[in-house]
Symmetry: D2
Subunit: 353 residues, 4 copies
Amino acid sequence: MSKISVAVLGATGMIGQRFIQMLEDHPYFEIEGLYASERSQGKKLRDVLKVRDHVYLDDTMDRTIEVMDIAKISKSCRVAFSGIPSDLAGPTETELAESGVAVFTNAGSHRMDANVPILIPEVNPDHFESIKDQPTYKDGGYIVTNANCSSTGIALPLVAIDKAFGLKQVFVSTYQALSGAGYPGVPSLDAVGNVVPFISHEEEKMESELAKMLGTYSGGKFNFAGFKVMANCARVPVVDGHLESLVLDLDAQPTLDELSKALSGFRGEPQKLGLPSAPDQPVIVRAEENRPQPAFDAMAGTPARARGMASTVGRLRQSNGYYKAFVMSHNTLRGGAGGSVLNAELAKAKGIL
Amino acid sequence: MSKISVAVLGATGMIGQRFIQMLEDHPYFEIEGLYASERSQGKKLRDVLKVRDHVYLDDTMDRTIEVMDIAKISKSCRVAFSGIPSDLAGPTETELAESGVAVFTNAGSHRMDANVPILIPEVNPDHFESIKDQPTYKDGGYIVTNANCSSTGIALPLVAIDKAFGLKQVFVSTYQALSGAGYPGVPSLDAVGNVVPFISHEEEKMESELAKMLGTYSGGKFNFAGFKVMANCARVPVVDGHLESLVLDLDAQPTLDELSKALSGFRGEPQKLGLPSAPDQPVIVRAEENRPQPAFDAMAGTPARARGMASTVGRLRQSNGYYKAFVMSHNTLRGGAGGSVLNAELAKAKGIL
Amino acid sequence: MSKISVAVLGATGMIGQRFIQMLEDHPYFEIEGLYASERSQGKKLRDVLKVRDHVYLDDTMDRTIEVMDIAKISKSCRVAFSGIPSDLAGPTETELAESGVAVFTNAGSHRMDANVPILIPEVNPDHFESIKDQPTYKDGGYIVTNANCSSTGIALPLVAIDKAFGLKQVFVSTYQALSGAGYPGVPSLDAVGNVVPFISHEEEKMESELAKMLGTYSGGKFNFAGFKVMANCARVPVVDGHLESLVLDLDAQPTLDELSKALSGFRGEPQKLGLPSAPDQPVIVRAEENRPQPAFDAMAGTPARARGMASTVGRLRQSNGYYKAFVMSHNTLRGGAGGSVLNAELAKAKGIL
Amino acid sequence: MSKISVAVLGATGMIGQRFIQMLEDHPYFEIEGLYASERSQGKKLRDVLKVRDHVYLDDTMDRTIEVMDIAKISKSCRVAFSGIPSDLAGPTETELAESGVAVFTNAGSHRMDANVPILIPEVNPDHFESIKDQPTYKDGGYIVTNANCSSTGIALPLVAIDKAFGLKQVFVSTYQALSGAGYPGVPSLDAVGNVVPFISHEEEKMESELAKMLGTYSGGKFNFAGFKVMANCARVPVVDGHLESLVLDLDAQPTLDELSKALSGFRGEPQKLGLPSAPDQPVIVRAEENRPQPAFDAMAGTPARARGMASTVGRLRQSNGYYKAFVMSHNTLRGGAGGSVLNAELAKAKGIL
């Protein structure tokens, strides 16, 4: 079976590089071309990549590939992964969809659009149906977004809990990694030995995206879930991996053991379908008293292709009728490029690509 | 007026050194002697201090003072400040109180004892009355504790809010500094580029101490406040200063402006009495979108003697009927030695010393 | 005696703010105006300052001062302190000198110019004579530069050693702080848990500036010193304070005790003249086996106005006929704004202002 | 061919765990047992490992293996890898050698002993002959040490340079990672935002070990190399990977291109023999202006089994007749457990095991 040609947009940024990394030797997809802003186009990849950016790209990778103008996406390429910065992505992605391209994007521009799903295959695979109501769908073009990185990490355990015990309220505080701000991103003078309790629009995103994802799609529109989210977001001096503290108000009152089992036993559509980038166990529960930690748990997930695709939950506790936990997930893999790759794998499995 | 002679116990530790620092040129107190464990006693201060510990002690300080055995506290010394580690402090402090010494301690050993107050002069000055019910009081000895560092920082804004608008529930997540674990404390391999979502017994302390402090003392016992606290505690790679995220459920529904005014206008007993280490404004409200931060706000507080004694609140927001904020305070000053020094100043002003 | 009015150029940057801080209540100077780039001009200082930048400026400072266009420097102002970035400073500073302004600058643009001294008052006060050979001097205008931050820190101990024992070769490796790169400067992803062994042009600057400063000025030109400097420069995750390792080849073979005494006993012109920002002891020698460290020694220097103006030397050792040491100095105080302020104080004392 | 049974001593420490990791699926060796101090013995591995220590051990590893008393090493085990702390290793390793065990150790206790080689297979494979002069050799027991971590990293490039151009003097400053101090090791309060310019005995080790390794073994004794080493050692807030700055005085005056080729073309005995943990290219030269860096280059080395076994050199420069460079290597792999494993592989290939 021949592989599907895909374009990577915003290929030189942190998310773009993660796309390149996750698409290496991919069983379904092969990279047709790398596309980036005017500033980069016409140059070889190796000349474009900032030194720091190398982190994601193995030295063995072919860096002589030329980076091209997004306007020149090959006609043979009907699928695009977008790592374009959110403030620029909107019109470009719309145009691509209109010209018949299936766009899987990490950008936030279209997340709240009508008929555009914020898709996490374990969480709301049925939301995929919404793309059929996008005006460009009849010509093969559509847009699928993945959620914001801090929403994604907790969405996996939250959906498992919601299904089993009913979610009423979510109090979440984040300890977010620096890579979430891209490169150059956060100045080191703000990061070293410090915490910055502000990430622009992050709390608003968490409070709305989770409700959209855990809601339903019917009658041509999204019906948001009824639970409330109260978010406090902060940036900590960690390179990769978002840690989040949770206090949950539930309908039922499970024991901690029941809660733990519901989390670790949770499986979704990607696991049933055996998608290549799906972790065998999407939510890992750790019993140690001091886990999860970025240093150990950011890259959780098996098999090898699914490293960084599992969420890790630890420190399950009860307090005054509430449930407490810490959750860890990788912000540029599961919460970034990996999320969109998994979405495209689902589309392929469903025969929509 | 002659100054009151005081002993500093656990003088070589991080809190002990903060006591020495805060008592330098103090208008009420003068250090009679430094006392520490067997390991240190009989040595000169400069030989005892670990290199790192120097941080708190100015080079000009007299380091030839001898560190003495706690058992040998001078008879002329009726006041002691204790920075003894909590796991050792209990019996020593009890013995001292029994021998007629007024003990102002940062250790946690006696915080939950009957008739022993957890005192923050702006929060619960009337709890001082409880010492009169301590069996040793008639002979001049008693124990006054200050609260745990992470409880202290939010106690100041919480009491201001509780008085004005009524507190029902507190959801708090902490971003705690490394100095809170003492020296050597947290291994650097756990701290650099990492967050550890566990501090032994910290969450339990926050959930109980705040209720005790914001409660009342009457009829010879403490009546805990009725609001609930749900705490998640984590250690971040910051040297000094605890940041805490809050979500509050209030009886009233003030505007953010009313909330801000209640916080910045809050004054307590120490301000009225003009105690030397009391900050002019105990709760500072910052309007910037990204404050408070450890790098800028840990040392908040005026005048000079009160540096590190104010709490800073920022990012006041509303969400789904709840109020959100971040709070910053210095964990070894207001949340440590400074707390006990202020308690002793209150005792002096009340004529109990 | 009325104070001399001075302008601060590049007032909103990290060095500019250090100028403002060091000129507060200065006995010789008072700020006439703050000047900055087009981007800032016409705004109030408080609106211009990036949040991080607040670090240097006390909250009590008057932030309502308007920041003005450099082109509009008041006629009443004959002295300017320049914290303009080096890549922009050149022409502006030349123009100011031509219009009769005495410019004391931290920028590197003119450091290697003929007749422009790189001045450290303890090191080469006689180089001040060179300004009289600047073409603009007759009309009162001239340029005095301070050295690069990593050159400055070791220049103080090196001159003391050179005078006493003769310097032949200097092998230096630097551990430079992040503030040396300004704000936003180094991206946090490059800094957290990492070291970057490259700072553009830094090694070349060290190798040439030290030879110029420790040389002589005679016959209208600078004669560079004969010793060689071999520098390796790296950036480490430290906020303030450059640490530097030294291996020295000397003409004489002093004992370590003689070396230590030559360093701690060293005094220069600023000490003799009692300049306001001069440290009583410009080179401090620490005997502890693990000092100097950024955390403890960056702010070395007494009295209060001279904090961060002393260099600290430690770990004096001998090996194979060479001498080894570590040196610590503050890169934006002595190695930045403080250096230029001290230069202007020397000018004042010499009656040239 | 059956594998050789080996014991891992000090199995629960950082080096011990690296031994376990490097011996997983090893083609020559299989772990017979894990041995550790009294404190650990009799417990399951999973109960012994401190949480942080998990970092090196994959979750899939069998953690139910019991940790045993070193005194009880199985008779069937004739090879031991020692990760025992240097201050305890001496007598235990001597005893084992006396009882006929071949000991490959990372401890420093015996490095300077007569007839005990400090072995790096690419550097001094002929030093292996010295073990035949150890008194215990006739009964099959002997001790082979690997070098100190900071000596190892630069030994690879230095031997390549020495062979081609003759080494006269080495000026080295280190930027050493925290893992070099073990766990708990360096307190976080000394590490975060700081540099400590002192590592006990490290400079002395570098100055003597390199001369021993690059010398010869003949006539039953080691003849030290004639070049001089002047070392300055410091600890920086990096988790893994030592960076070192070099200034070299050479006999010849090669061009930088010749120097680069001598380094990247260097191959040693392990490459010729195809030893399993040998990197294809032991010294990698990077052309980028800001490499090597811990974040990117610590794990250098191919194939997979040799990750962290190559040294990376960058920033080759000339200055005043000297050569300058930065070198990066992994301190607990090539500079720790990996060094001893490679030594044992060489012994196996030479038929001495």
